[in-house]
Symmetry: C2
């Protein structure tokens, strides 16, 4: 029991020197790699840069204790930072203590929800985010984030969490573009794009081993940070109006208490739920993918608890909402992390940096971070996926398109809510007109096929109707219509057999419809039979009076029904 | 085309004297019978009694032109009156011109929505009101309405649209009970209950023919109205504090124009939608049931248009929202109505009463009407249905219970919205963990059955997994988990065959999961096959790359897969 909720008890007893060495190396590499993005995502959320570091210390410890993935690395991530910023902008002004306080409340709410969902084993809840909706949401968010960074790259002011407000404020200020800032931002951007596209190949050509080349190619952002920081320090760019990180308070994260203010909690409830769901989906898909590569398994419900614990830890250590991040996790995996202990080492590394080395970050230009973010998030824009969805299903594509458009135009919350509701609505609509087919016997066999697609034999006094969907409230009436139309069109009909091989559920509404069909067919002198009713469906029907009232019989197979009924024509 | 939207063009050319005689008789009977309830439901909605008469004239003409049911009688009904009152109470004070105006706007909005839904053929939309939710809603509304009438029976003041607010204001005023009012109300109540339970039997014992006895038993309310009105007139009860109908303006309904006030329209949008849906469901189920008795058919989408037209007519003639009513329709049916022309005759009858006979209604005690309503609505409380749902399905029952409790405690809107959302949520939850079964061959046959329920033969290197549900976003991940768990538990496995006989849909999310399963099984050296894929599903799969990437084959039947794969054990 304790092991279930504290997975560390499972792996720690087997922890040895070899694992420790691998994890330590991964921890050091992750420390160096994630500092730029931690700072950047805090700024993206409208928070002071140091909050990104704070959110990369205690939350990692919490995940080490609670997590089931050996390679997942938690911390601030782009999409959650964007959603955090959008949520906080609605309740406070960036730069005020209320804004920081709201970030803590958001972390706590999100952590509480995740933990609760995990304990109640409600992981399935996130399944309602369909793949097209997630892909559309990520693509649109990538564009939104990149647009929000354009202002930092140009050195102008801009704010907003929709394409309209961002472009409006950008357009108004574009005349004030600060050229030295643009030079640094633009230069970094070009460098990073080059490294991402050609870096690994170039390093391989220099004769480096593949693994090292891959890792170094990923270090592009770190190199950019070091070079532009040195440049800014050497040229004293902060004196010339280039925005830099500036003073970061040294020392470990302070202990913070999210205040209890009913109206604030209420205002942040929906954003916290959306952040929790999106964060969990991103994290768990990442975790499952990498676990699969190593033939390991993760427990989604325990992952909810672990992410919940991480966010609660963030709330009490001056942090911000966190989740398992794509790029951090890939770095951790590539660096050879073997157990969640690597997260502990990374936490210690970042703590050491926060404790002692923050003065080194003083001259780091904001434009450099903006360039790193932009390059990172543009990979979220998944054009092939959009094209593929269009080709495969117009219905899925429409949910995706609505998500993209609303995310861009109305903001992240409206986008994802509309996407989820629309995909549920479309699914219900599709199942509300169940496919059904009249089947006939393939001569000489016991097989029955659609009479419209195959040469079959049938009898005018028997109709074999195969229903290709579970029967429930949304399609019960449609079934009635189908059967009544069938009876009206075939005057010689004496028997209707509903073949239920694809019926996995008959709910109370559908049961009433079957009752109505039975009564009405009886009035018309037609007998109703069922065939191939599945075990669980049959068990349930036995609890009602329907089987007693039914005029006909329940046949085990379509053939048995055919064999019995086709003979006794009157 | 014109005939589709004006069904009167279909039946009027064949109209003859025999039909006219029958319809005329039905029209007269309906006129007499529905006057008390029309007055009562207007009062229930917080409107002047005469509005109920107005709403029984032009709307009936509209239905005669547009309706497809030969017996449906539209007009104010209890449940819609309750919902109307609850909606109007939120935007205006009863007794003010604004309240009357809001009733017109509500009728117009509801009429517009119904017409639009009909023209767009969106009748399926109402299927989302599952039977248990409707039954629960009607039961709770019956209790609410009866509770709201208690004040009229006691002759005290009380208001509210929830059980809590009603009982609170009743409890505060119960000391002021007006005994003469209670005597009339209580007496009528006892008489009406007796007539309903024993009336028909007593009349039969007096030697009356069955049909006449049934009709006269239904005339109980009319008799009560006549007797108590005479009594009130004779004893001058209005002078002694008994509330009576009082002056009703004579004359035909005035032409009214619902005003355009954006905030009012916006506030009434959701109530109008709910009133439309509930009204349509009540009306169409009634219409379908009676049409079935006469082997006729009604067109649900044209019914939407007809009810929409009736409500728009109500909006322009000082009326209130209307729908096809249960008791009016049964009276019309029993009185032998043959075509919608009976509605026209009833409209003319009620118009004549409104024009000339309203002074006769002056002394009609409100308590009599309250007793009529109470007795009528308590039939809505369907205890056997509640018990039956409990027995059949806990899940359906929980949606019903939530609807009942919330309708009573929070009001009609909260109740029905929560019921709909919960039933959709539960359906999605049920389909999110699709049933699947490993199947094996029944020795010597081509049949395959669940290995846990039957004696079957199987091979350790082949797994035949039958999936009993459509694959879509809510259950795609669950399928992945199932397959991975299967592969992890059987080291000798070489082939996994997914049997798709019950899969009616594979959406984009599920396609991605299949892709992921295929890739992961490939890594483990296991081949993925499909079997019994349905035509439409196969057509769609061919539009994706999945079939090209799949490691295995698509078999037409499970037997073919078994035959092929069970041999080549390596």
């Amino acid at each position: 029991m304790l092991k279930r909720y504290l997975p560390i008890l499972t792996w720690l007893p087997h922890y040895n020197r070899r694992l420790c060495g691998a994890d330590l190396l991964a921890g050091v590499i992750v420390t160096v790699m994630v500092i730029p993005q931690s700072l950047a995502y805090a700024i993206l959320a409208g928070l002071p840069a140091v909050v990104g570091l704070y959110a990369s210390i205690l939350p990692l410890l919490a995940y080490t204790l609670l997590g089931t993935s050996s390679t997942l690395a938690v911390g601030p991530v782009a999409i959650i930072a964007l959603m955090t910023g959008a949520a906080l902008a609605g309740v406070a002004t960036p730069g005020t203590p209320e804004y920081l306080q709201a970030a803590l409340v958001l972390s706590l709410l999100s952590g509480g929800m995740l933990t609760l969902m995990g304990l109640l084993r409600l992981g399935f809840f996130t399944n309602f985010l369909s793949h097209p909706v997630i892909a559309g949401f990520l693509s649109a968010s990538g564009i939104l984030i990149a647009a929000s960074q354009a202002a930092h790259l140009l050195g102008v002011e801009a704010s907003g969490y929709t394409v309209a407000s961002l472009s409006l404020s950008l357009a108004g200020n574009i005349g004030e573009t600060h050229w030295p800032t643009l030079a640094i931002g633009g230069g970094t951007l070009v460098f990073l794009v080059w490294v991402r596209r050609r870096g690994k190949a170039a390093l391989l050509r220099l004769g480096l081993p593949t693994a090292l080349a891959a890792l170094l190619a990923r270090a592009g952002p770190v190199l950019a940070v070091v070079v532009t920081t040195l440049l800014a320090w050497w040229l004293a760019l902060d004196q010339r109006g280039v925005a830099v990180i500036g003073d970061i308070p040294g020392g470990l994260p302070p202990f913070t208490l999210p205040g209890y203010d009913t109206s604030l909690w209420r205002a942040l409830l929906v954003p916290a739920l959306l952040i929790s769901m999106v964060g969990f989906v991103e994290s768990v898909s990442m975790g499952q993918m990498l676990a699969a590569k190593r033939r390991q398994r993760i427990s989604p419900n325990q992952e909810l608890v672990a992410l919940g614990g991480s966010n609660i830890a963030a709330a009490f250590s001056a942090g911000m909402p966190v989740t398992g991040g794509l790029s951090r996790t890939v770095i951790n995996f590539d660096a050879g992390a073997q157990t969640p202990m690597a997260g502990l080492f990374a936490a210690l590394g970042i703590a050491a940096v926060t404790l002692a080395l923050t003065p080194l970050l003083y001259h780091l230009p904001i434009a450099t971070l903006a360039a790193t973010i932009s390059v990172a998030v543009l990979t979220l824009v998944d054009i092939p996926m959009i094209r593929q969805t269009w080709r495969y299903s117009r219905s899925d594509f429409s949910a995706m398109a609505v998500t993209i458009v609303l995310t861009l135009v109305e903001g992240v919350e409206a986008g994802i809510i509309a996407g989820v509701l629309l995909s549920i609505g479309l699914f219900l609509y599709r199942t509300s007109r169940p496919h059904s087919a009249l089947v006939g016997r393939i001569p000489g066999t016991e097989h029955f096929r659609n009479v419209e697609r195959h040469d079959t034999e049938s009898a005018s006094h028997v109709a074999l109707l195969r229903i290709d969907e579970s029967l429930y409230f949304a399609n019960a009436r449609y079934l009635e219509d189908t059967v009544y139309a069938l009876v009206a069109s075939r005057p010689a009909l004496e028997h209707v057999v509903l073949i239920c091989s694809a019926v996995n559920l008959i709910d109370a509404s559908a049961l009433e419809s079957l009752d109505a069909i039975n009564a009405r067919l009886k009035d018309s002198g037609v007998t109703l039979h069922l065939a191939e009713v599945k075990g669980p469906v049959m068990d349930r029907l036995k609890r009602s009076d329907f089987l007693d009232d039914m005029t006909g019989r329940v046949f085990l197979s379509t053939y048995a029904a055919w064999h019995e009924l086709s003979r006794d024509a009157t």
